[in-house]
Symmetry: C2
Subunit: 351 residues, 2 copies
């Protein structure tokens, strides 16, 4: 077993070492904008079945790497596999997104939640990791991931995506003790899950905090950042994770970058609202950054897409510790030619 | 004609003068959470008809003032009346929100847009203002408003609300010249409209930039803040607006507070993500601030709702120039008892 990926531009950038060119990968790079993804997806009846079949999860993980010279692969899975493994019935409805049939609405609803053993209830994910790691070029790092405790709690309480999170926030503002019990249980489950991914063979771990940015500053610190900091501290103390870079991404969280860096995360994901030079001024050289093209720029004209890329590279100013990415996941209608141009432009202009 | 409202706590706070207690009003305070609103709404077939009938618009404007000792009234209307008056067919579909039947998709679609004379195509709004000003207690200021050019352009191009604004941003990233022509036309229309509201009798003007926070920093400055700054500069030079406070609110725009203050707005609206002391540190004493309770805190327990209110008042630290409000509009399921407690608590604790 070699670690031929350890000098990859992606992992070097995570460690804030100099790189020959800025590495790039794309959130949700294995997804519906690719016809080959849609073809694989059509082989199974549901999205969950795609996640649960290691061969297919491996196949769709590798698909974008075959098309584009991306600098990292990301495990194809879904953040909601963890609540599902905790015992919540999950249904992916076409056009509607994921739905929990019985959302958590009372403290007593927590009683039936188990803390899953990743090698049991989430074995299909770890099998996918093992398979991907075998099939993927040894120079390409594989990123594992999980949703943040707060983001998962939002889905578990709402039952689905939401505009204002009325149910989840009703808990927060009326029964924070019960919310904390739920978050603690998620913290423990996610630590085991991420350690499982590390043991199975990923080279980096990312926490997706999609809904942290919907909170007030003190609520973010208590209910979103705090649980993520617990996870990071525990992973740091785990032998299998000690050397893995951890990427922390709170969408809409640019107000709180310094607090995010204080968790000990190695890399902060940035959405597209903040300029990289401003983020760097706030953060100093304590942490690497990842981002931050507006995914909608991929719908623009080639010269204006390139102008956005140039602006982002210029704002970073060649400092080590930048991983290019979108500021949020790539969307299903994205033209493939724009993704090609993006990857090529980032590599060429940063070299 | 007396200006008995000029020493009201609301207008004094807008001018950053000391007040005996912190004034409060609520975005969307005339709305579906009130049973009397729902009863009035049921008298007409469509939402637009409610806006277009001055007697009913006046009635719903006054309803929340009868229930709660609010410190300002806000004209009941909708930001989309302006694109409608520009010639776009508008339909409010129940459960779906407003829809433009023929969204703008090509440069040529701009040709049919007129710049409305507010005393003609928007006379129903100005008639409502005149009627409300007659019916409203003379001590209570009336706030007029409009959507920001960028926010209106988003709706006009998308045809409806959107999660990622693919169409509007495709324009931005492929044909910014045409987008600029549209924004310029909106700027001119909105200046006339807001001057019309001032002549008709409002005491303050607010710009709602609901979607500015979806932009990158340079795009926000060019396509959202820039057009708003043009409007503010023009209003400042108009005799009927010269003395009216202007409130600027970009939801999700807390990164850009200093740039917002540089427009010359008198008051900045803040969403709930930022602490008032942090906003004050950024802004100094150049501008008043309005906000910023999470609307979902109204679904919490009374003690925790009060704790949130106390936290916000404490973060402001008694400095002049604070108008209490929500960080976004009040939502339809909000319990009325929570609104009562909110208004009473703000008044009592700040006194």
């Amino acid at each position: 077993m070699t670690d031929s990926w350890s000098q990859s531009p992606f992992l070097r950038a995570c460690r804030r070492e100099p790189v020959e060119y800025t590495p790039i990968w794309l959130m949700r790079q294995a997804g519906r904008y690719l016809p080959e993804y849609r073809a694989t997806r059509a082989q199974v009846s549901g999205f969950l079945e795609l996640c649960q079949t290691p061969e297919l999860a491996c196949e769709v993980t590798l698909q974008p790497l075959r098309r584009f010279p991306l600098d990292a692969a990301i495990l194809f899975s879904d953040i909601l596999t963890v609540p599902h493994a905790m015992g919540m019935e999950l249904d992916f409805r076409d056009g509607e997104g994921p739905v929990f049939a019985k959302p958590l609405r009372h403290a007593r609803d927590l009683q039936s939640l188990r803390e899953p053993d990743p090698e049991q209830e989430l074995r299909y994910v770890l099998d996918a990791v093992r398979l991907i790691r075998r099939e993927l070029a040894p120079t390409i790092p594989l990123i594992g991931f999980a949703g943040s405790p707060w983001t998962l709690a939002c889905y578990m309480i709402e039952g689905r995506g939401s505009r204002d999170f009325q149910h989840a926030k009703s808990w927060l503002y009326s029964d924070p003790e019960t919310l904390t019990i739920l978050l603690d249980r998620l913290v423990r489950s996610l630590i085991l899950y991420l350690r499982g991914q590390a043991k199975a063979g990923v080279q980096a771990l990312m926490l997706f905090d999609t809904w942290g940015g919907t909170l007030t500053t003190p609520a973010y610190e208590q209910f979103s950042l705090g649980p993520m900091a617990q996870i990071i501290a525990s992973l740091r103390a785990s032998p299998e994770c000690r050397d893995l870079p951890i990427i922390l991404f709170s969408k809409g969280g640019t107000l709180w970058l310094r607090e995010m860096a204080a968790t000990g995360a190695n890399v902060l994901g940035l959405d597209w609202t903040v300029e990289l030079d401003r983020a760097r001024d706030l953060l100093g050289d304590t942490v690497a950054i990842q981002g931050n093209l507006d995914p909608m720029a991929l719908f623009g004209s080639p010269p204006l897409l390139q102008a956005e890329i140039r602006r982002i590279l210029a704002a970073n100013g060649g400092r080590p510790g930048h991983i290019f990415n979108l500021g949020h996941g790539i969307t299903p209608q994205t033209p493939i030619a724009a993704v090609e141009l993006l990857v090529e432009t980032v590599h060429n202009w940063s070299a």
